[in-house]
Symmetry: C2
Subunit: 171 residues, 2 copies
């Protein structure tokens, strides 16, 4: 079995955010996928159990998803991808707005966003798989190009952190 073939799957890049009581966090994921297109579309997202955002999503059952554009740089991604919301204020020095569900949505260099409710959680080892129902969503700048995971790796030379769904020690 050659696990490296998995590096050939295509993804986008997203900042997911959640808030429970006054606690806020957000993190970078590449695992957002639409699974149905009914009146209220359903999506999935996998988030590492060690991420603070995971705990807050479990507590609030709400999550907002920002679609990162190519304009986002390593500085912005680093704010969400390589430090924890447990011991830093991730809303400092970043553009955001508050969603209709009360959860902050990151808006900086973002194409658009979805506000979602969690309708099911599947334990998947290192990660939880959250099944989501979209409640709201809008474009912020339709003309921006959504960032692909490949662009993140090959153009802005981003690394895969150990908590990513795609992390491999061999990499």
């Amino acid at each position: 079995m050659n696990n490296k073939v998995l590096f050939k799957l295509n993804y986008g890049m997203y900042i997911v955010s959640s808030k429970a009581e006054e606690k806020f966090s957000g993190c970078i994921v590449n695992t957002v996928t639409q699974i149905t297109a009914e009146e209220k579309p359903k999506l999935i997202v996998a988030i590492n159990k060690g991420n603070y955002t995971n705990s807050l999503v479990k507590e609030s059952k709400k999550i907002n998803i920002s679609i990162l554009s190519n304009k986002a740089d390593m500085l912005e991604i680093g704010k969400f991808g390589f430090r924890s919301g447990r011991d830093s204020n991730k809303l400092e020095d970043i553009e955001y707005k508050i969603g209709n569900n009360g959860i902050p949505i990151i808006t900086e260099n973002v194409v658009g966003y979805m506000e979602c409710d969690v309708i099911n959680i599947i334990d998947s080892g290192t990660h939880d798989l959250f099944i989501l129902e979209m409640q709201d969503g809008e474009f912020l700048d339709e003309n921006l190009t959504p960032m692909t995971y490949e662009y993140y790796h090959n153009v802005i030379k981003g690394k895969t952190p150990p908590k990513a769904s795609t992390y491999s020690k061999e990499k």
Copy 2:
């Protein structure tokens, strides 16, 4: 709520195939996502309940995933995306091999493949969400570029069929 923001999510393009007794089918999906990278990685795939492939995956609990490359054209995609395996032999006039799990793997214009067992099925309305554990996988041609969903739409001018997870009547 503006559902069109969902068109900005990034995906790859895949042919998934299954076989139960002597019945075979395959179909095109864009919903393959790795959710953990443990020793045997876990993935998800959403398949419309009306697809014959869906029935065969439920029956056999096995599925193979071929990662389509940019070399694939509408003729190849049309064979799997716009007709049913119920009334046509989808293995006719296409390159394939038999996987270690006994399920045919489409190999024509394909970067590599994963052989997977189904470990859970989540009913998600029009689609079933299959949780998969990868059992085997290999490159076929590592130098090919994996096709993105965006390339399918914008370069080879592919349409979204009504059974796709991303289908919208407004589109």
